[in-house]
Amino acid sequence: MISPALLSWSFEPGLIVSLAALVWVYLRGRRDLAIDLPERYPTWRAVAFVAGAVTLYVALASPLDAFAGLLLQVHMTQHLLLMLVAPPLLWLGAPQLPLLRGLPDVVRRDGLSPFLAWHGLHRVVDVLTHPLVGWIAFVTTMWAWHVPWLYEAAIADPFLHEIEHFSFFFAALLFWFPVVQPYPSRPRWSRWAMVPYLVLADLQSTLFAALLAFSDRVLYPLYERAPRLGGIGALEDQATAAAIMWVPGSIALLVPVVLIVRRLLAAELVRPGEAPVHVAASRVRRERRPIDLLRWPVVGALLPRRGFRFAMQSVLLALAVLVVLDGFLGPEAGAMNVAGVLPWTYGRAFAVIGLLVAGNVFCFACPFMLPRSLARRFLPAGRAWPRALRTKWTAVVLFALFLWAYEVFAVWDSPWWTAWIVVGYFAAALVVDGFFRGASFCKFVCPIGQFDFVASLVSPLEVRARRTDVCGSCTTSDCIRGNERSRGCELDLFLPAKVGNLDCTACLDCVRACPHDNVGIFARMPAAELVADPPRASVGRLGTRLDVAAFASILVFGAFANAAGMVQPVLAAERAIAADLGLGSTLVPTTVLLVLGLVAGPVVVAAGSAWLGTRFAGIGIDGRTFFCRLALALVPLGVAMWAAHLLGHLVMGLASVLPVGMRGLADLGFAGVGAPDWSLAHVMPGSTETLTTVQIVLLDLGLLVSLYLGWRVARQHASRAAIAARALAPWSVVASALFVVGVWVLFQPMEMRGMLLPG
């Protein structure tokens, strides 16, 4: 049986993700380099690098970390791994070129090249990689952090402890760099100089170990106060720590001396004719193909099947029926009703998460499609959708109305209203698509669909043609016209001209219809489609689509208004305004605040900032086009706010479906399920720190992507960077202000909608 002490590993997702990403980039780059330079990048280098990364994880997340505050010897071992084991292993992997090569081309070429060519940075780096600097950094760091008061402060304060670990590791990387001298770096000193370099480092380390070993008092009182595990006294623990530093520490520093001397002597003995023969690269470089989900073994076979989509739609349809039934027949309290929990706690969150990690999954599994398809067997569906309504304005109005009704009628807490909304949705879909051709409801009316279309601009997947030359030689255009295998795209997205995700329901009809097997679901850089503005099939140029820009603005400003509407200071302000005006309810103040947020925000603030930018910067684009482009550039920030907000509901109300389900089963006569445990419908206990951190990181990413997109848009129409900066300044202030509002909202005490209050 494994000792419980050895099971004391902590789960560190940040560390796991960072190290896994590093190893992945390294291995990806090394794979390519090993083809060109097999003698420089043998397999053992990869093994060394991975071992270094694993050592880092062991040092920071294994029982060594859990026991570091209780036993000095454990803490010493942790530090030795950070300073003497992980850094040389990582440098032995010669990671500079593999890490550079393993990065995506665009990052390496556009992102890093200006820095790599910057002489100022070269000078700083020259200083940092000097052996003298590395040696001094190593020694100073070790002594400084072992000063008793600083050592104890680091143990007491997690943040200081992280800085301690970081500085140990950073200094050790600098120290080991000239020792390992990883390819392709060149030594600054003679390699013979590494002998005194390492020996002197060992001497000072031995001196410190001796101080610990021969001290007759405990140098770190913390360990005197700590409970003595296994009966090990504090002084005995200190002596053991000293021995660890002395013996294994010396081995780690002196073995490289032997290896270096041996290699230097061997090199002097090698005659010119005996140099090792390098094996020429014989393998053929593999071409990197874009990731296409439909080429994956199981997923690729499953996704395009009509039956798979039908199954997904059936599941959502069954859930929608449940929502309607429980909404009309169940208790009129959101937290106790399927109609309160399923759509508002789970549905919204999963839809937005799906958009961020994949694509438009809700439209793919849309429950309104099945009754619509059924109705089309009986209804004519032959009329063309009125030309005047072939815009997104209907959806803009409906979405704004929904956001208003949600606040004013507390829809999240009214199963009855929720049920009516679902029924209304089915009715609208039936009527519109029962009488009009194509997917008029999806394209022009459905606010959920428009939300998903616009939000899917930041999705990492996209349906598009595999090869444009195949489309060029295609004479049948089945992707749009359809054939006996499948109907064509009902949203008029002609594949060869389709750009991005706007208006794509991910129905995959085009995949099934294409006779050339030329449609794939490709991975892509999220939001990259917003950098340029080419003509898009059935959409045109986004810079001319005021209706799309208006919907995007409502989505963005609505995200902040919707989240702000549930925090205590805003609710208190609404109540105070209502009381001051002698009103019986908060209807008027809520409406006024929402109008300000949803109408004045986009119109005055966003459009005004774009107009100001064009007016005073002399940028080569008109105000309206600039606003349309910038409105879409804000979408990543808006989606991030929705995700942060809805993720909060999901995490805190994760278990609420259990008592609601039990209640529903009991209502249906299943007596065996027992009484529902309503405590599960309360806010989940525990720290919200991780959640808040994730929410802030989401907002960080959203703002950064938005600012980047805005910059790229402005730069396309400005001859110089300074002009682009001036043009973008007012809009950047708006984006930053929205970010600040979002962070402020996240920090406020929230009214936990759709959840029961304890007690």
């Binding site: 419980p4 002490a5 004391s8 590993w9 902590s10 560190e12 940040g14 560390l15 960072s18 880092l56 920071l60 997340a61 029982p63 970390d65 859990a66 570091a68 505050g69 209780l70 950070l82 990671p95 500079q96 070129l97 890490l99 550079l100 992102g111 890093l112 200006p114 820095f115 790599l116 060519a117 940092l128 990689t129 007491a156 997690p158 402890h161 800085i163 670990h165 970081f166 590791f169 990387l173 600098l174 760099f177 990883p182 392709p184 770096s185 700590a226 409970p227 003595r228 595990l229 296994g230 009966g231 090990i232 206990p685 919200t688 951190t693 802030i696 960080d700 703002l703 950064l704 960077a721």
Partner: protein, 173 residues
């Protein structure tokens, strides 16, 4: 190529700087209870209003071996007139990273003095240890989350530098 080396250093350093959460923390009390020694830890330090980790180590006899089959219950209450009824919750071994400790996360919802009682039962024996400690007012959220908030200005600064370098490079060319 030394520049790449620094990029490697920075990337690896960032990985090491990823936050780690070890339990344990400040020793709140350590006293004998029958034949055992009970030590109670409190983290973070200083403890503020909000969630906090209480962990308990029980050691048997002179050898100091950790006792792993005890039942530990915590009772927490603010030391105030008219304070709410005490919160009782079990401390479990699975709740702490260090598997020798019994841990629980508690919500310290009010600043000021708090009383903590740990009820320890093992077989037929049971007993309690008790102490008080001070909880500081909550820190402003910005002070807790500033590293995450600093990401945006940091990235923007690097990006501006990138653009400046690129433009300078183009001008030279």
């Amino acid at each position: 190529m030394r520049l790449c080396s620094i990029a490697v250093v920075a990337a690896l350093g960032a990985a090491v700087a990823a936050p780690s959460h070890a339990d344990g923390g400040r020793v709140l009390l350590s006293e004998p209870l029958g034949a055992s020694q009970v030590t109670v830890f409190l983290a973070p330090s200083p403890v503020r209003v909000g969630p906090a980790d209480v962990t308990v180590l029980i050691q048997a006899g002179e050898g100091g071996a950790a006792v792993l089959d005890a039942r530990v219950e915590l009772e927490m209450v603010p030391v105030l007139d008219g304070s709410p009824p005490p919160t009782r919750l079990p401390a479990l071994r699975g709740a702490a990273t260090n598997q020798l400790l019994y841990g629980a996360q508690v919500d310290l919802f009010r600043p000021g003095a708090w009383r903590l009682r740990a009820d320890v039962a093992r077989g037929d024996e049971s007993g309690s240890v008790e102490t008080t400690f001070d909880v500081a007012p909550p820190a402003a959220p910005v002070t807790r989350y500033w590293p995450w908030l600093a990401i945006v200005p940091a990235v923007v600064a690097v990006f501006l530098l990138h653009q400046w370098l690129r433009d300078r490079q183009k001008l030279r060319e």
